[in-house]
Symmetry: C2
Subunit: 405 residues, 2 copies
DNA sequence: AGTAATAAGTCAAGTCAGTTGACTTAATAA
DNA sequence: TTATTAAGTCAACTGACTTGACTTATTACT
């Protein structure tokens, strides 16, 4: 009878929470609108001029915003727009892939300041962690040469790696770096760097990058279709990355292509770079792979085009499915592949299948190309701590959350 | 140059917003945990005892909570648990279907107090609205006989009808009540009732009902697979119904069953009651349809079982897809069909396909049967205004939102 | 029994972020 | 030159949560 099950409840809030929320709202508004005066901010956030003034004073004092030249626009006192100060905060992003790891440092507005990469022993996590920690150490050293404040203003470390996470054993291990899955990576990195660590899968990181500086900037409902070694979807729902119950939302690589297909063919077998490499008989661990694929794409290699056309068929279906299931404002195609290949894929996907997304009142394209920079996953990884610290959607109101800034 | 594009920003907040949030947090905690003392609430919400005490005093004065008998449990002063007072708020829910409309009144805890239904002229919206307004009038009259306060405490009208919404013309009109799609239904109902009106598709309403009083109660990531005349998924993501960019998220009936299937067969053609009626050569407008199908299911009619087995194959695939894409904690099967048929379908869907949902640490079943009451859609419709008014996730913090209670 | 320990809940003063309304400043329009 | 308009500040006010001491009611221990 005396069950001690925990009480479930949302946190309450107080003035501090409200204040933290309002600070984030200001920063978010400046991020979305470029530069705004105090009066603009007051109107946009529905706060009073006075409240905004106080908050902006504080943000300026804390080095998050700076005033620009006053602008005269018609009658009345000229307004002084404020913009974000990029060096107000920094974060480090880490992409861990099968054969390679990349680390970047970004600032408050999502500009990549430092980047470096290293090879990774595929089946030796503890050796790998040493490599990674060295990489991060180097990034931090370079960053502190750019800004003396950088260490103080480092808000966290974001990690992106292929999912899914937390499954004991599932599917075809070749795709998944089994040794890494079991290793307590986040704890080790947190201990080794002294930073707060967040984890996303690679498609989610792509979506986070698109939201910070790409096609999903200011878009509240967008899905990022990421064609990497595997294939996944990064979900921006209600302006926030959706992770699902166990952090594995969007892992569409495992989607079965047909209810009747007894063979169990999944999307990843057809539309992923792994399948391309297999089709072209390329070695995935080859260091010059990227350039080789780029060259084939530029030359419109017939074998590559054959794969593109086959994959495009499945990708078209994926877009249709995504539109049907999520009803996003736009779908963004991103890829770990060279831009030339991504463009071929995008072309081959048109015309898109008819779907509920073909509305008369569209403003955004149904499908568009996202960031094609191979560093975008690391950028997305780095964007996550920035969002966590400064995005009002991350519920700064709730009590007992660290309040950034 | 002088572009007057609107400034995009989240609303700020103030003490009032914080207070509104905290009141909702209390109500939500009581809804989830049954009854809690002030001390319990303080611990669960991270507010101080004093703050909770003040809020509870106010909620009691306003008729939202009542104290129970003090309970002695070990040392210390006995605690006085509080529970929600069901008659603290009411809402009306409306299900509009092809041949039929149902209306219910529910209270704060989601109990259906009054229900009634009427036939609807399928292609005459203005005539239909008269029927609906009459139905709502009757519901309100009966409700005010149950509680004298009911009119004052009516928080809104929720409407559920088959989607998708807002498309000029799409697909097979037979499924969609075209005349209704164009009619300004919500405005007309708002004007005719004086209530705030919300809209959901029927699968979303099912999910809302499950969240309020069913299998998704207290579950933050759940997908409700609704097999009705069509088929759809209601999405509870982060504890909240997800609607998508245009309110059409979860309309999986249009999902193409295979990338290569040039015939364009969609899920709805195979796994929906419409397909069952076609298979059995039943007339969908027949008034005794429900009983007839119930009888066939109870008798395990071979023709019906044949359809069940075929549909189950597609539904199994749908569950796999939902698990892959959303990573929910559980999938809930609901249906407009009689419980006997729903149980046959559920049985036939087992064993489920292997997926990322087959985790070692599961606590909830991968697939479970939801509310089988045919009134559940109307209940879900009615639950929406209640959630909007009392759920802390509906961002009561933001300024310029009506604060319920 | 009598006392200590424990926990629920209240009292009353304090705090602080946002509000209010009048005011100042600086520009353009008439 | 003056009226108008808009940005931004000043200073007093408000109110929801916090703080820390206190009261109340029960069980556990000696």
């Amino acid at each position: 009878m005396n069950d001690i099950r925990p009480i479930r409840a949302t946190s309450g809030t107080n003035q501090e929470g409200a204040s933290a929320h309002n600070r984030r709202v200001m920063i978010d508004a400046l991020r979305l609108n470029g530069a705004l005066s105090r009066a603009d901010l007051a109107r946009a956030t529905q706060l009073t001029k006075q409240a905004v003034s106080n908050i902006i004073d504080e943000l300026e004092r804390d080095g998050f915003v700076v005033p620009l030249e006053a602008v005269r626009k018609g009658r009345g006192q000229p307004s002084t727009p404020y913009r974000l100060l990029p060096e107000g905060a920094f974060a480090i992003g880490l992409q861990i892939d099968r054969h390679l790891t990349r680390a970047v440092a970004v600032d408050l507005v999502g500009t990549v300041l430092v980047r470096s990469e290293a090879n990774l022993p595929p089946d030796d996590p503890s050796g790998g962690v040493r490599v990674i920690l060295g990489l991060i150490e180097g990034i931090r050293a370079k960053l502190s040469r750019i800004s003396a404040q950088s260490e103080k203003r480092l808000v966290g470390l974001g990690v992106a790696m292929p999912g899914p996470f937390g499954l004991e054993e599932f599917g075809d291990n070749k795709w998944m770096m089994p040794a890494w899955q079991k290793f307590p990576l986040l704890e080790t990195l947190a201990a080794g760097t002294g930073l707060e660590v967040g984890l996303q899968n690679d498609a989610a990181a792509c979506a986070t990058a698109e939201r910070m500086v790409g096609a999903a900037h200011g878009v509240d409902h967008a899905v990022c279709l990421y064609v990497g070694y595997g294939i996944g979807a990064g979900l921006i729902l209600n302006g926030e990355l959706y992770r699902g119950g166990n952090g594995n939302a969007g892992e569409i690589g495992m989607a079965l292509l047909s209810p009747r297909g007894a063979d169990g063919t999944v999307l990843e077998h057809r539309a992923s770079l792994a399948s391309l490499y297999q089709h072209l008989e390329l070695d995935p661990s080859d260091a010059g792979l990227y350039e080789r694929v780029d060259a084939l794409a530029m030359a419109r290699d017939p074998e590559l085009l054959a794969w593109v056309n086959a994959a495009a068929q499945d990708l078209r279906w994926s877009v249709h499915l995504i539109e049907t299931v999520f009803d996003p404002q736009t779908v963004i195609l991103t890829s770990g592949a060279p831009e030339a290949l991504a463009r071929l894929i995008l072309q081959a996907m048109h015309p898109l299948l008819q779907s509920i997304a073909a509305r008369p009142d569209r403003t955004l394209p149904r499908l568009q190309l996202g960031i094609t920079d191979p560093w975008s996953i690391a950028l997305g990884a780095a964007s996550e701590p920035i969002s966590r610290a400064f995005d009002p959607r991350f519920s700064a109101i709730l009590k007992s959350r660290a309040i950034a800034g």
